[in-house]
């Protein structure tokens, strides 16, 4: 392999801009702010009142401005103001100013939670969606999908409006009998941690193509149980089927498992169960692997979370 200073690839201006690539846009109404999980993480479980007070005061100002703006828009349409508030209204100006009120309300709730340690509102703060809504448009959702809320399910993902912070783990949990399991990286969000897991199968030198295809062709699943040995709570998370990239000699199974609420733990002892990852002999014995997550380091990372609706 060429050294960095001596690239083996010739320059070609024609190549510029022709890199094969694609993006996918989606209209997934399930994504949105999760008010049930809004919160800050505090040392020793106590709110930091200085930060919280400032956030609360700023949110009040923002709410006042948003309401004034909304009132101005309504005043411009004051001929039939009551009709503007019905579900049939789709005036972009009304929706935009209404969005600002929603944003401010979210900020108010977050600020209150930071200041007092307790929420002052429960449930979603969602504009009632039209029944005949065009599937090509989006609905602002503040929380989890309605079905999940009714079922009392826990958070299904990170906050939609923030970029998580990567914390490298590089933790090899298992290596042997033609398999490896490792924790690659933890992506920290304000309401939980996305844990990157990679399981690999290595083809044996006497393994036939058919045997290898059968051994590597399944869907590997992972599940994690965790508990805080100091404060006691147990955590359970949704199992995850890993996506696979299969090659001649190696099959890599990767995925990210969502661990909501674990930032509150003082310590986190975890057990990772890996199923359907046959070893060199074709045996599918489930791996049971223990590891600890440094929640203090993960909490520290939350101070660097990027929210796209904040001024930098």
């Amino acid at each position: 392999m060429a050294q960095h200073e001596e690239p083996s690839r010739a320059p070609d201006d024609d190549v510029l801009g022709t890199v094969s690539f694609g993006f996918v846009a989606s209209s997934n109404t399930d994504h949105g702010m999760n008010l049930n999980d809004l919160g800050f993480v505090f040392d020793d479980g106590q709110p930091e009142t200085g930060v919280g007070k400032r956030a609360f005061e700023q949110s009040i100002t923002a709410m006042n401005q948003a309401l004034v703006g909304y009132a101005q828009v309504l005043a411009e349409r004051e001929e039939k103001p009551s009709e503007l508030l019905t579900s049939a209204d789709t005036d972009p100006a009304v929706l935009a100013s209404s969005d600002q009120v929603h944003e401010a309300l979210l900020g108010l709730k977050t600020g209150h939670l930071a200041y007092t340690g307790h929420p002052f509102l429960e449930g979603p703060l969602t504009r009632k969606a039209r029944q005949d809504e065009d599937p090509g448009t989006y609905v602002e959702t503040d929380g989890e999908p309605a079905a999940l809320q009714r079922a009392g399910s826990v958070s299904t993902g990170p906050m939609a409006r923030e970029l998580g912070v990567s914390v490298a783990l590089n933790h090899l949990l298992y290596s042997g009998d033609g398999r490896t399991v490792r924790l690659e990286v933890a992506t920290v969000h304000s309401n939980g941690v996305m844990l990157g897991i990679e399981c690999a199968q290595l083809r044996g030198e006497r393994e036939t193509a058919d045997f290898w295809a059968r051994r590597s062709g399944g869907t590997t699943a992972v599940e994690i149980e965790a508990h805080d040995p100091l404060s006691g709570p147990d955590y359970t998370f949704e199992p995850l089927d890993l996506g696979a990239a299969r090659f001649t000699q190696v099959a890599r199974h990767r995925g990210e498992l969502w661990m909501p609420g674990v930032l509150a733990a003082q310590e986190l002892s975890c057990t990772l169960y890996v199923s359907y990852l046959p070893n060199i002999h074709g045996d599918e014995t489930t791996l049971e692997l223990g590891f600890d997550l440094d929640t203090a380091a993960l909490r520290e990372a939350t101070t660097h979370i990027q929210r796209f609706d904040e001024e930098s």
């Binding site: 690239p7 100006a93 990027q306």
Partner: protein
């Protein structure tokens, strides 16, 4: 993500042929914001070091402006994609006296997009197939709607140290078939 909830992944054609598969990469978190504007945010999330190359992981956010009409935002988003989805160049090797031919376009090996009502998120991975010794890696993100080249660099010491910690998985004696 599709309407059926399935993730769509586009992989470069060279993926699997140039990235070493029989080793476990070493991840180095970066979390660096390298460009910020009301509309855009580009950040370097992490690098994933292999024995003879690294994967550069970028996040890009295209945001709806605070008072922007939703349809106008969607039009702007589509226009930004039309302007370019991004090409990452290694501009380190530009010294003609060393026989280097010039900037090298890196392969984009993964691009994933997701979207909420108020922003579009792109996750981008580029393969940089070098072994690092003493020269920093200078990169330039081009062919985007940012209106400018986005230059940043990675210190050679960080890259060299990361490559030294790559774990080779065939060391446990199983080996691989010849073909």
């Amino acid at each position: 993500m599709t309407e059926n909830g399935e993730d769509l992944v586009f992989e470069g054609e060279t993926f699997g042929s140039s990235i070493p598969l029989a080793e476990v990469p070493h991840v180095v978190a970066q979390n660096r914001v390298i460009f910020e504007s009301p509309r855009h945010r580009v950040s370097l999330r992490e690098i994933r070091a292999h024995s003879h190359g690294i994967i550069v992981v970028l996040d890009r956010v295209f945001r709806r402006l605070p008072v922007e009409d939703y349809l106008a935002y969607r039009v702007a988003l589509m226009d930004s994609y039309a302007e370019g989805t991004g090409a990452l160049l290694d501009v380190s090797a530009v010294d003609a006296s060393q026989g280097n031919p010039g900037p090298v376009v890196l392969d984009c090996v993964l691009g994933q997009g997701d979207e909420t009502r108020n922003a579009s998120f792109d996750h981008l991975e580029y393969w940089c197939p070098w072994e690092f010794s003493t020269t920093d890696l200078h990169l330039s993100l081009r062919e985007t709607s940012l209106g400018q080249h986005l230059d940043f660099h990675l210190p050679a010491a960080v890259l060299r140290n990361a490559q030294a910690q790559v774990f080779t998985v065939d060391s446990d004696g199983f080996g691989f078939p010849e073909n």
